[in-house]
């Protein structure tokens, strides 16, 4: 290819432009979970799909997006108190830890985002997004408390019944869908608070995929 013909890089899988701002594991679960690894995708250097994809002009764009998700998650969990109390260098450390795959560097800061006051039983609201390829809306995100009025810990099943009831129907029949996080199907009885603390992505969100049951 000639240099002048090359424009912004973008990726595609089976006709679907891949959103770089989504975690790669989420994209795989949502679009290709039944296929074997390695995941084969197509790399494009032309015809950037302006209507489908965000531009990624530099690493700054990725850092800005990541930090904006982390801030949004903390707005839900702690009314932004924890993230706002941190210094700029802590935010930087979180991003650099992720960028350079430094677990300890990342978790030194992230652990503070996973704490909650002793008198509470969990976060204020749980940061989550539910994705289905069958809907026009890119994801479902709503306010949801991890602890019910009676003090009971809400479960993954409780969340789905509340915000995405079609997934759980029929209750006693065979489920048509898989509920997947990080490539696994957690039990629906798992407390959401626990999932948020232990199964969130680095941006502090639970990214949940609803996919059709595999037919094999």
């Amino acid at each position: 290819m000639r240099q002048e013909d090359i424009s912004e890089i973008w990726f595609e899988y089976e006709g679907t432009p891949l959103k770089w701002h989504y975690p790669i594991g989420l994209l795989f679960d949502l679009l290709a979970s039944s296929s074997a690894l390695p995941w084969n995708i197509i790399v494009h250097f032309k015809s950037f799909p302006e209507k489908d994809l965000l531009h990624c002009p530099s690493k700054d764009a990725i850092e800005a997006h990541f930090m904006s998700c982390v801030k949004e998650a903390d707005a839900l969990k702690h009314k932004s108190q924890v993230i706002n109390e941190m210094q700029k260098k802590d935010h930087k450390q979180l991003w650099m830890g992720l960028q350079n795959d430094r677990f300890d560097q990342f978790w030194a800061i992230n652990r503070k985002l996973m704490e909650y006051p002793a008198e509470e039983n969990g976060f204020r609201y749980i940061p989550f997004r539910i994705y289905q390829t069958t809907t026009e809306r890119p994801f479902i995100q709503k306010l949801f408390r991890p602890v019910a009025a009676d003090g009971q810990l809400q479960t993954l099943g409780d969340l789905l019944r509340e915000v995405c009831p079609s997934v759980m129907a029929p209750e006693d029949g065979e489920r048509k869908n898989q509920v997947m996080i990080h490539g696994i199907e957690p039990m629906l009885e798992t407390p959401l608070q626990w999932l948020s603390e232990h199964l969130s992505y680095p941006d502090n969100f639970l990214h949940i995929s609803i996919i059709p049951q595999p037919t094999d």
Partner: protein, 273 residues
């Protein structure tokens, strides 16, 4: 429907919430009875203020619409307008590299400032007296022609349940459908806000996915909204005059990205009067 307001809680001292515990989602009430916290907007209140705002827009023909989302009870405000921009272009064949200079015709944007709800801006509009850079080498004098391009702006006001504030999304494209790039948007921000923008462009305006449409839009980051809305609402409570949250908020953030509100919006009631 007044919001419950109180003095802003100092950020360093987390205090237990005095608000009665709500059960899981579905019980969002418009009123906040917590007297210790900053003013924030609940979703039902957002929808109510939007409805009042829309009524006024219809009365004065300001072009706002409500788009309801098909699969749920939420929706957003939406408005499209067109802006002419003068551009100076090098004609093909000129030896200098092709360049485009933006001369927004009215830097102050046509529209009015609500002085009670925004701050004064005394920046003179950047006019056509702004000179093109003329290269010193005569053999390379660019041939320029003034042309006008029409830019289509589309503004959406959505509710963010995470931040519990409205958020302004927008996109812009030329008549031929070519979208404006982030740098174009940053360059087009009014003079008054350029200093703030330069402090942290990535914290201010970026491209993000529209949460309902799933398409790329530009967003004005909502992180500071509660900070500047709290004093506005507290003051309105003090003088016993209810302000429409959406009108007040939009009159502050809109001008940053070329969207202004006629002064008559200041009189939009916040409840049925």
């Amino acid at each position: 429907m007044p919001l419950g307001l109180a003095s802003p809680r100092p950020r360093s001292a987390p205090s237990p919430s005095l608000r009665p515990r709500l059960a899981a989602v579905g019980e969002q009430s418009a009123l906040s009875v917590n007297m210790e916290e900053d003013a924030f907007l609940e979703e039902k209140a957002f929808q109510h203020y939007c409805a009042e705002f829309l009524k006024h827009s219809q009365q004065i023909g300001d072009g706002w619409e409500w788009k309801a989302s098909k699969d749920s009870s939420d929706g957003y405000l939406c408005k499209t307008h067109f802006q002419a921009k003068a551009t100076a272009r090098s004609l093909p064949g000129a030896s200098t590299e092709e360049g485009e200079t933006w001369f927004p015709m009215e830097r102050g944007w046509p529209g009015l400032w609500d002085h009670r709800l925004t701050f004064h801006c005394s920046c003179p509009p950047r006019g056509s007296e702004e000179a093109l850079e003329v290269p010193s080498d005569d053999s390379e004098v660019p041939m320029t022609a003034a042309a006008t391009e029409v830019v289509r702006y589309e503004y959406h006001v959505l509710y963010s349940c995470s931040h519990q504030v409205p958020v302004l999304y927008f996109r812009a494209s030329f008549a031929d459908g070519r979208p404006l790039a982030l740098q174009d948007i940053w360059d087009g921000v009014h003079e008054c806000y350029q200093a703030r923008l330069r402090q942290g462009p990535w914290d201010t305006i970026t491209q993000q996915e529209h949460p309902v449409l799933g398409q790329p839009f530009f967003v004005l980051h909502p992180c500071k909204t509660t900070e500047f809305m709290t004093p506005v609402l507290k003051n309105s409570q003090k003088i016993n005059r209810n302000v429409n949250y959406i009108a007040a908020w939009l009159s502050v953030v809109g001008p940053v990205v070329g969207l202004t509100l006629p002064l008559s919006y200041a009189k939009v009631p916040s409840q049925d009067e």
